[in-house]
């Protein structure tokens, strides 16, 4: 463990995981908003919106995340000139958040849509019969029940997102996996301890997350 006794290495380790948490936090927010919106598109009565939702899911769910992140940097930023911050690290960070969000939104959308399917069709028909509009039906009747049904699958999506955040390292943000590579580079004799510490930290963050979502899913489940 001499590697982590060194203050510089320890700082790098902490800042690596802070970037992971920041990436996960912001991307979770945007992916949830975008994902629910896409799910609404996919069940909406407007064919154009349905098409848009389907296209989004098919494109981003079936493209490797590495390519999406790579495109965010070399396509959006480098070629098209979309700069999200003047600070180099923050720019890389936000480009990473864009990539992670559009990718994860596709999975959130499909999870929410499966939740919508758990709500009996009769409820939507009843809501229409009493005069609620499509969006009122969705907001007041369908989504509250659908959301509660998909807490557990959304937990899995969140866990995947947190691990996927390491891919942002490929565009130069020094997150946990980049720090690990750097430490291994300068401590070739301690590869396995370093690896175990990083893997262990991810597990320590995510195992409780998994249990929390399991507990939440039970608590919120709609009893039918």
């Amino acid at each position: 463990m001499h590697v982590f006794a060194d203050q510089t290495n320890l700082d790098a380790y902490v800042s690596g995981f802070l970037w992971i948490l920041k990436l996960t936090g912001a991307s979770t927010f945007f992916a949830l908003v975008l994902g629910v919106l896409l799910a609404a598109f996919r069940v909406s009565p407007v064919p154009v919106l349905r098409g848009l939702g389907t296209a989004w899911v098919n494109i981003f769910r079936n493209t490797p995340l590495t390519l999406i992140i790579f495109f965010c940097y070399f396509g959006l930023f480098s070629t098209l000139g979309l700069s999200l911050s003047d600070d180099l690290n923050l720019n890389n960070y936000w480009l990473g958040v864009v990539g992670l969000s559009v990718y994860t939104a596709a999975f959130v959308c499909e999870a929410v849509r499966s939740g919508i399917n758990t709500v009996p069709a009769g409820q939507a028909e009843a809501a229409r019969a009493v005069g609620l509009t499509f969006f009122q039906t969705l907001r007041i009747v369908i989504l509250p029940q659908a959301g509660r049904a998909v807490v557990a699958p959304l937990g899995s999506v969140l866990i995947a997102l947190c691990k996927n955040a390491t891919i942002v390292g490929t565009i130069g943000l020094i997150e946990a996996s980049s720090v690990m590579k750097d430490l291994i580079n300068s401590n070739g004799d301690a590869v396995i301890p370093i690896f175990l510490v990083f893997a262990g930290t991810f597990a320590a963050l995510l195992i409780p997350t998994g249990y929390f979502f399991g507990w939440l899913a039970n608590r919120l489940a709609v009893k039918r």
Binding site: F74, F77, S78, T79, G81, L88, N92, T170, I171, G172, I174, S178, K181, D182, I184, N185, S186, G188, D189, V191, I192
Partner: protein, 286 residues
């Protein structure tokens, strides 16, 4: 529930054993044979780490590698009695050279490998076979004339490399964009998202000379460091290290060093440098 727990423990144990096995392989590779010379004599083959993305030095095209480093590696292998066809080439990047040597993944590394004290604590160096210097690659119309002008500018380099670390310590006001390879820096320089790419002059010259970038970039031409390129091998393999130095000495006098240069980097018109055999490392002896 009990069954699940047993299964989880079994899975964890398998994983741990797998890891232990990996570690064991690396060790036995080094201690089983008697260093570099022993392996070359007994097995008649060598695993040599070279760069795969540096035109003129180590560039992979299909399954073959070409460049000055590759030619030097062939000369050394020949001197150890290993035919060029029996060399197994392995792609290394700046970040994995020491681990590869320490773990026995490769026998030798000839990959624009700067000799420095920090690395000497982990591995041994033979050579140097070439002296490069850190420089800047900029757009042809750039006004940047040296590292002094880097404050507030963005510089692109490779994570964990000597040039990247030098920028961080000596020019902390420069913004450093790091990637896992230099080839990713070039499109950024072309699109003016970074102001300069920094690494050794000889590597930059190789990139600038590539067809797709012809005339777009220039090397500033004010080297601000001295980078002696060495040949990395396992620490404490003194015999192997001395043997490699002998081979380099012989190559300098019989013309094969010059031939290696002329067939690769020499194509740019630059004359072959003189290999100063008095500057070869003493292989760790005091």
């Amino acid at each position: 529930m009990r069954m699940k727990r047993v299964a989880a423990v079994a899975a964890a144990a398998t994983l741990a054993l797998g890891l232990a096995a990996c570690g064991g392989d690396g060790e036995s590779g080094g201690s089983g044979s008697k260093g570099l010379i022993g392996k070359a004599q007994n097995q008649k083959k060598l695993v040599i780490g070279v760069k795969a993305d540096q035109p003129g030095l180590g560039l992979q095209t299909g399954s073959t590698y070409e460049g000055f480093d590759v030619e030097i590696a062939k000369i050394i292998a020949k001197g150890l009695g290993v035919e060029a066809g029996s060399i197994e080439w392995k792609t290394t990047v700046s970040a994995n050279r020491e681990p590869f040597i320490q773990q026995g993944t490769v026998d030798l590394v000839v990959a624009t490998y700067t000799i420095n004290d920090e690395r000497k604590q982990k591995i041994s160096f033979a050579g140097p076979y070439f002296i490069a210097g850190q420089d800047l690659l900029v757009n042809a119309d750039s006004t940047l004339v040296g590292p002094e002008g880097l404050d507030g500018k963005t510089v692109c380099s490779v994570t964990g490399s000597t040039p990247a670390k030098r920028i961080q310590t000596e020019h902390p006001k420069a913004k450093l964009q790091q990637f896992d390879s230099y080839s990713k820096c070039l499109p950024l320089l072309e699109n003016r998202k970074v102001d300069a790419v920094t690494t050794d002059d000889i590597i930059l010259a190789g990139y600038a000379a590539q067809d797709q970038y012809a005339g777009k970039f220039k090397v500033v031409g004010k080297p601000f460091s001295s980078e002696p390129y060495g040949i990395g091998l396992k620490k404490d393999d003194k015999d192997g290290c001395e043997k490699v130095n002998e081979i380099l000495k012989a190559a300098a006098s019989d013309g094969s060093y010059k031939a290696a240069w002329d067939s690769t980097l020499g194509k740019s018109g630059k004359a072959a440098p003189e290999l100063d055999t008095t500057k070869l490392t003493n292989c760790g002896s005091v």
